[in-house]
Amino acid sequence: MNVTGTSSRDNFFMFCQQRFPVRTCAALSPFEHPSRLYCKTASLQDNAAAQAKETLQRYKDRPWDYLGSEEYIEKYGTNPVWAGYRRNHKGGIPPQKTRKTCIRGDKICGNPCPICRDPNIIIHHQNVKLLQQFISPHTGMVFDPTQTGVCMKQQKMLNQAINTARDHGLLPFQIPYVEFSGEDYSNSHDAVGSTPPPPCLTTSDTWYTWYREITPDDNEVAKVKTTYKAFLK
């Protein structure tokens, strides 16, 4: 039985190793010899799971460290994370939306998007270098997912992170121009200026006469009671 759960990530790592054959990282050596022996697959799965967990934990607190590490530079160089990724689809024109998500539970799809294929890439609003790779340097707009190839779930998270980063002031953006001519700032209008209080407040009287306690006329009460006698208890 093949190790299906992490096959696409294995392919990605093997692809990276082909580009840079000199890898002294001992932890990745099990992947170079995909063993067909039945007794070894269980231990391989455990190793893979343990390594995936370790990598996830390594950059969980400081995701921006990964973009300066040697690992990242070896894999991507100076290109953005989504450079060279090709979507697999039928026909010449790709669908207008990328796939909904690459990872469903523990299962990862074939040919995952640029963010899902590398578990070290974490979308965080303080990870400015990563976010800037997804913003056009000329127009300042976020790239469409059909251009970068990211799945819709990651694109949504990316948009949220970019908005938070702009809110915190980490990412620069174009600010609209505000005109100030022709506005009256004297605050003399009654709506915003101070108006004298109504007399009922100062004399602690009520606004309308019928706001006060009204004692009804006894004759009127008796008349009403006689008309509605059948309905009174």
């Binding site: 000329h138 127009t139 300042g140 707009m141 809110d167 915190h168 002031g169 980490l170 620069p172 953006f173 174009q174 600010i175 609209p176 121009y177 505000v178 005109e179 100030f180 001519s181 506005e183 009256d184 700032y185 004297s186 605050n187 003399s188 209008h189 009654d190 709506a191 915003v192 200026g193 101070s194 108006t195 004298p196 209080p197 109504p198 009922c200 407040l201 606004w207 706001y211």
Partner: protein, 341 residues
Amino acid sequence: MAALSTARCLFRSYSRVKNVQKSKQILMKCSVRTFCSETQDNAPTDNAKPSFSDPAVQDVLTRITGLDLQKVFRPIKQELKPPAYQLMTDKQLEEAVDLATEQAKKLLQMPPVLPERKPINDVLCEDKMLDGMDTAKYVFTDITYNIPHRERFIVVRQPNGTLRKASWEERDRLIQVYFPKSGRKITAPLIFEEKNLKLVYSQDRHEDVLDLCLVQFEPDSSEYIKVHAATYENLDKHGKYDLLRSTRHFGGLTWYLVNARRVDGLIVDMLKRELFQDAVSLVSLFHMVHPHSESAQEAASQQATGIDLLKIYAQKESQRSGYIELALQAYEQTAAEGSAA
């Protein structure tokens, strides 16, 4: 709806009844108005302090700000269109440059500098009958389209029955809900918190902070004044005056420094960049705003103009007089050499 119209009717009837008092109020407020340059009949006398919107002050500030077309019309990040080319004669090119300077002058219009607005604390009615009727406040906003936002009535009925006018923060929030302005958010962006501001200042993006502040807050609100003061203090501390030169915020910066009497850093920066006329105008503005200071009285007595003003200022007021005097000597030498040659 009924409550709203009754509130408005009440106000109208109230204004009719209290006509005399209202006119008195308006008369009193006329003298306090700071941003009505057209209606200002009295010229700034020696007793009246010159305000930001005086034509003389505005003239000096526009001259000091300068007009660098390359900086005003620097390329911004926007939707890209294919470029359009035009073949022009020299005369047409001059006309185009004149149009561009006109447009730049409009863009460099200074945002108003106003005193902080007084809080609104008016109670219109106290209906004890409605006490405990509901657990939430009700806000009634007048959403008539053609009235300025400062004349819009917004009242709040609280759960204990009092009907009061909405406070400034509530007003701004609700007007943004019903009449949204582009770029303005309902809650203030987190960039205006202290640690985020520090980060942005370290990246030299003071102009962006000030632009965002203009978009988000009203000119007389307390947050606007605080953010501007913090930005100006940071600029003064690090001497990064050139970041705002040729933008619409330079006038505000100069006015703040002149009122705080800390013009030394700015004058030294101007002398470093050899903007002697600007330095002279700045010192004359300082004398206009603080006519009772030593250097102002000295200058008035000597009727000094030009470089002499700077010398008097350096001797009397400034803390960094050494540098200013050296710079003036160097300027005079070069001027003498230039005239001799």
